[in-house]
Assembly symmetry: C2
Homo-oligomer: 272 residues x 2
Amino acid sequence: MTDALHPLDAATTFTPAADGSLTGRTSPAYWNMVGPFGGVTAAQLLKAAMDHPARIGEPVAQTVNFCAPIAEGDFVIRVKEVRSGRSVQHLYAELVQGETIAANATMVFARRSQTWGHHASPMPEAPPAAEVPLLTQKPPLAWLKAYDFRYISGLPIMASEAFPTPQSARSLIWVADQPRRPLDHVGLASLCDVFIVRVFQVRGLRTPAGTVSMTSYFHASPEELARQGTRPLLAKVDSIRFGDQFHDQQAELWSDEGKLLATTTQVVWFRD
Amino acid sequence: MTDALHPLDAATTFTPAADGSLTGRTSPAYWNMVGPFGGVTAAQLLKAAMDHPARIGEPVAQTVNFCAPIAEGDFVIRVKEVRSGRSVQHLYAELVQGETIAANATMVFARRSQTWGHHASPMPEAPPAAEVPLLTQKPPLAWLKAYDFRYISGLPIMASEAFPTPQSARSLIWVADQPRRPLDHVGLASLCDVFIVRVFQVRGLRTPAGTVSMTSYFHASPEELARQGTRPLLAKVDSIRFGDQFHDQQAELWSDEGKLLATTTQVVWFRD
């Protein structure tokens, strides 16, 4: 360990301006093919909202829309307070480069208090992370190095031609930040986008594709996330319908103690 | 059939102002306990976006945040063009009463074109709608009369005390507009909110509760929805984690020909 900031903390550190806007910069550690990994953009928008002076409580929901490619370099995030109730707050944020709104987000925060609680479904069955081999062969994309993946099932295999029969859209994975980082909502927001888009896996073929909109719900308190610490999360992902340039994707992120930490869904654009 | 507008079409008819804003009015036909049924608000925000002069293509994604109670009477919807690419467009809308932003929405539209297509999972097994009894005993809420429900499983049963053991969070239902209405994206957006919130069903108890944020993805073309016509849709819903005032909810809406028409998720606030 060094005293250096974790790359995700460096990526979510902003310079505030007098008008309340925040200037940030794209992170080389989370670079994808032609722009940043979407998860880091979600984390940046969430952190900018958490930095808003009127923010109350903790994150409950976030929808991020990826509106335009984000270019390497500086961006500005503006957060607007839409509505603040006694315990629930709605914020809206835009990530801007020049004249272009490259991403926007709606976010819900809440001062949560204890109520009746229940898990209606158990964590998917999985061997402990330590018994699942670490994925070492990865395509040369920076963001893939920012996570450790241990595939229990549904390892995407890419070929030069599509499989004659579509593969399963499901994957079950132990996943963790690399280097390790104690879990918090900012880290969880980014982990919600950690899945190879399903169209690649199902076809076995990499074509132009990208997330258009992503929604994540956060079900755990900061204390519960802190207790999870740096240990891997169990992540389950699936999709149902592919066609006419888009597909759905649904996922769950579980603590290794069997608690659902986040549910997340996205709609993915793809080309043949 | 009469020549009168269907209540959902009446609810989504607006008066445009010179500044591009649209004035609408809450619908008695879709009234819930202390405000409108969330689905009609989603339909109103989607229709307002579809009415925007710069709108291209058809709806792909919608996130609606329910920020404050909507009072009976007039409201104004303002739609902003966030970003328009060649084939994908992002819009943002606010529904305002007086000084209060009561709801907001981000929406994705696209000019879709044909690509490789695939259903990775089949429709849930269900008897035909005609073989499932129509639910006739309903609480006296207007919006419940605006839909026909045929529960295959997971009929919510309310009692004066919570069940000693939580019930299943799942329901499988044939659902249709009442009176019947040919399916389109506006109708589908509303149908995405047609589920009794899961906390009622699991506990068997009605406590203060409401949807805070809802995201729907639309997987079918206008032509495919038109082919479905007025026939009931198969709807499957489930939740996993309840606690500290919130729970998740995930659902799928299927055509009776076995195609996934929409996936939808929401986060629900509740009190003990």
